[in-house]
Symmetry: C2
Subunit: 243 residues, 2 copies
């Protein structure tokens, strides 16, 4: 019988600032929404610029993070991955679900730049699938030599791929979008199109015939849209009340 | 100023059984030595077979592990990656070194099979770069869709690649190898050839002109070899004294 190794205390080295303020709307994988930008703010003493020296020579990096907002210890032996339409159960270790024994996630994202500002270090990221305020425990370079496995077989690739939604805006929503783009959120329309186009609805919704209106929080905004078939219409972009 | 998120206690879910009993000789990346096999033994309650249900449909999986055997808290802001010949310093977050603030590692390996035996669950792995007794904290499927980044640029790819060593055996070592292959270690010779062929010597040794004899532990064996230029000769395969 094995002696079980001791537990280890993991301390966050930084935190994610992201346009995604809640889980709904977050791309299911990194890289899916190229316009999804965010930054990683490093805490002292990890904000010493020498600790990321030469990292800028890599185009992509791994963010090792903690799934937060989950109740600690809340996980089941099996889960229903959204990628499988939410109606097939697989083992928790056969999924990338955040509800797992050790709530650690890995995400390969594009590294745009490294900035020293406000007395700390920021890594500016692109193509993220990370919730705002996500605690980060490690950064590693993405090494194509070992991380890019050409012969890897995807066990779920035989599943029918979720169809993209075609996204349009009402005249009113379009006008709000244009105003916001000018003053605060450049490329907002494209970002909304990308996110909604990937159909952020959970798998099981696809089976409900009566639900057609959805809302998601992006930056300080409530984005509301209606889905009919494979058509999504953005009909409202509202400031969140609590901001 | 941000409030730093709380620390989290991480508990191993299993342990690695590997032919690599010490750091010297371990391939620098997973996949480098295809013949390097090992297994992951899952601890209760994570050894419930339903927890890995459907994982067998993936050819490759991520092993998220703790670098063990390191003194806790032993890390520096900069490291000298062996891949850069050991003579160039980069930030610790620009390396995959095990000496890092949170000693968590990620390794993509081939999943050969899943076995239920001795009242627990074993994942049989291939192409590993993991030390024996490595504590494992998570398993995830390798998802080509998001993990295989075709456009990723490797910041260190401009470094001259380390030359492979050509490996031969003395008649005596060859005879010992044949005997061991017959009774206990099938394909031992090929495994030794692969490991030594990848030049397991640390980078800085390459600069020392006087050191030519090396030893490494593989299974319960001491493998001793001599390097001259790019030629390695295996001259002894001995049972370890303490076994």
């Amino acid at each position: 019988m094995m002696t079980e190794p001791a537990a280890l205390e993991i301390k966050p080295i930084g935190v994610i600032h992201s346009c995604f303020k809640e889980k709904f709307g977050i791309p299911r994988q990194p890289g899916l929404v190229a316009g999804a930008r965010g930054s990683l703010e490093l805490f002292s003493p990890y904000n010493d610029i020498t600790m990321v020296s030469a990292l800028e020579t890599f185009s992509h990096i791994w963010i090792i993070f903690l799934f937060h907002g989950n109740e600690p210890g809340k996980w089941g032996r099996m889960v229903r991955p959204p990628r499988l339409g939410g109606n097939r159960r697989v083992g928790v270790f056969a999924s990338r679900s955040g509800f797992r024994p050790n709530p650690v996630g890995i995400s390969a994202v594009q590294l745009e730049s490294i900035e020293q500002a406000k007395g700390t270090t920021f890594l500016h990221l692109k193509g993220i699938d990370l919730l705002d305020q996500t605690p980060v425990i490690d950064i590693k370079p993405y090494v194509p030599y070992s991380d890019r496995i050409m012969e890897a077989v995807d066990g779920y690739a035989d599943q029918p791929e979720r169809e993209k939604l075609s996204v349009s805006f009402t005249a009113e929503a379009d006008a709000v979008c244009q105003t916001l783009e000018a003053v605060k959120h450049p490329a907002l329309k494209r970002l909304i199109k990308e996110i909604v186009g990937n159909d952020p609805r959970p798998g099981y919704y696809a089976l409900k015939k009566n639900e057609s209106e959805f809302g998601m929080v992006l930056f300080d905004l409530n984005i509301r849209f209606q889905v009919t078939g494979h058509q999504a219409v953005i009909f409202a972009i509202e400031k969140k009340n609590d901001e």
